[in-house]
Symmetry: C2
Subunit: 348 residues, 2 copies
């Protein structure tokens, strides 16, 4: 009934980050309460008291999860954790979530209860309240949209933009496991679809499967940092793969960095499965995504305080912008880092 | 791959409000900052300063809007306004929004720009900042999830639950027009689909079409109330139709009410079109929905302050719970009010 536009730019040519950049310029901030808008892990709001930190994520069936192998309870848990991870990445403490969902009539009340059971478990574990949301119908599948709200004092908030030259690049836990877990699940799904009589063989993969199906956010890292009174100079959570996140820190802080391949923490199970799949474990860590570990920079003088008290890996250091963002490989060669992480808009 | 549950309760047998009630009990509030959770127009959070008021809504193509007659720019505008309306309904001032969207590859960058143009227009008009969100792909159509954040002093916040016996029941603007606008659009769509050569005849329906396609939230009502220093005893915005909203106020406040049919404000254009469609204009106002007017109760002593300064209709008064919620018709007869508003879960 209404005319169509003649110009047409495909979203896949732009990518998710391109689209965010494009949209960021469209609407300038006006209110004095809006301290930080689009472009970090969360927005920051000033309430003439503590800061409110807010982040939101949308999960779409068939794009972000496959109900063939994501049980609803785990999905509910993961959907909450993924959002809390963004709040922790601002060095804030999550307090509340809002959950919106669209459901097709394929879903029964019992299915929703399972989903909520997982959400309740995450709320319990992370001491977060579910305070609102919206439920509606969908014409196809399940869509979840979760908004997480956290609190922090003004001077505690850590942005992507605060790193300085020579700061140490740190990462919690290990990387690449969630991605390898997904490879296992997708392989077993293919086998199952070809021959439904064959039961999935998931044995020996407990760790990487759990990293994919039921990831955790790094609550204890943020608590420990507060206890040690160390405030990182910059921070981001690893949802799209290490490369992509390092490049975000470099770009926001106008710096370069050296990342040492041999320092990237990778679990033995991730290594073994990568070999099995003829994949390079480093590439899985760099580009795999969904690890929900924290990547942050600290001043060199904070190293002595942090290292004995925390299980973190120092994987490199920040350099000036002209040096670029580099991966130093095992032989000492330097390769420019490239973002090859998940790009949600490519996954159609 | 995973087993299915045997029990199955259909969501349509429960309805949206049934589902909300069911979910509300699942996860109790723990944090002292969570002042109000599920069950009002918005959640209320205490930041040791001003209160943060948060609400979220999900809009699904084919359920909440039809792109055949909702131009993307209007849709963007409406999606924002609908959420701001929830913040105003708490007597708070909206400050920020977060926008998440899932898009199929049917949509180009130019289409998204149109959508954002409408959002930017609403942000501009209501003095709100777009501070974050998420963009992802969808397997079918467009899904929007918007979270609105507002601020208020503790003593200003108005809940659904504060009405007292004999308080006056007030409503802004007029009702039923958005619903009649939708009837016109759906009629013209049917005609167009049957014969694409016939151009849609939308003339003479400007007001009701605008109410459907580009509704406004009642910013000036909240500003005026603050100016007059009148705090309503209870408040809700009319998204599902007057009956449903009145019943929410009655239930939350443990009261009954008398609503006078002849006091319900209805625009002449709504009357005329209702006649044309063989519909009862009162029924459209009671059950139509999407009006985004404010329904609120005031103390009788505030009547003298309010009435000369504001364009509101006094449509009834609150009674004790035992009296029930009643519609007093033009002949003086009393009928029990029933909610027959939009039930999102029925609309599949």
């Amino acid at each position: 009934m209404f005319e169509n536009k003649i110009n047409r730019t495909e979203l896949e040519n732009l990518g998710e980050f391109g689209l965010i950049e494009h949209l960021k310029t469209a609407i300038p901030l006006k209110n004095k309460g809006s301290e930080k808008g689009i472009g970090d892990d969360a927005a920051v709001i000033n309430n003439d008291g503590k800061r409110t930190v807010v982040s939101t994520d949308m999960l779409v069936e068939g794009v972000h999860f496959d109900l063939t192998f994501h049980p609803l309870k785990h999905l509910g848990y993961k959907a909450v954790v993924v959002n809390l991870s963004d709040i922790y990445a601002m060095n804030a403490i999550p307090q509340q979530i809002l959950v919106s969902m669209a459901l097709s009539n394929r879903f029964s009340l019992e299915a929703i209860d399972e989903l909520y059971e997982g959400m309740a478990l995450a709320c319990e574990k992370y001491n977060v309240d579910l305070v609102g949301g919206d439920t509606t119908s969908s014409t196809s599948g399940l869509i979840l949209s979760i908004t997480a709200i956290g609190q922090a004092e003004e001077n505690e908030i850590v942005y992507r933009s605060g790193a300085k030259e020579n700061d140490l690049l740190c990462v919690t836990g290990d990387l690449g496991a969630a991605y390898m877990g997904l490879q296992i699940l997708e392989r077993e799904k293919r086998i199952f679809l070809e021959n439904p009589k064959i039961q999935p063989d998931l044995g020996g993969n407990d760790y990487i499967l759990e990293r994919q199906l039921k990831p955790e956010a790094r609550k204890e890292t943020i608590e420990k940092l507060k206890e040690l009174k160390v405030i990182p100079t910059s921070m981001i959570d690893i949802s799209d793969g290490l490369s992509s996140e390092i490049l975000h820190l470099c770009k926001a802080s106008n710096l370069g960095c050296d990342l040492y391949e041999d320092k990237i923490p990778i679990d033995p199970q991730t290594y073994e499965r990568a070999q099995e799949f003829n994949m390079d474990a480093t590439v899985c860590a760099l580009s795999g995504g969904e690890d929900y570990e924290l990547l942050f920079t600290i001043r060199q003088e904070d190293y002595e305080t942090l290292r004995p008290a925390m299980d973190i890996a120092i994987i490199g250091h920040m350099r000036d912008q002209a040096s670029g963002a580099n991966l130093i490989d095992r032989s000492g060669g330097s390769i420019a880092l490239r973002a090859q992480g998940w790009d949600a808009l490519m996954k159609r």
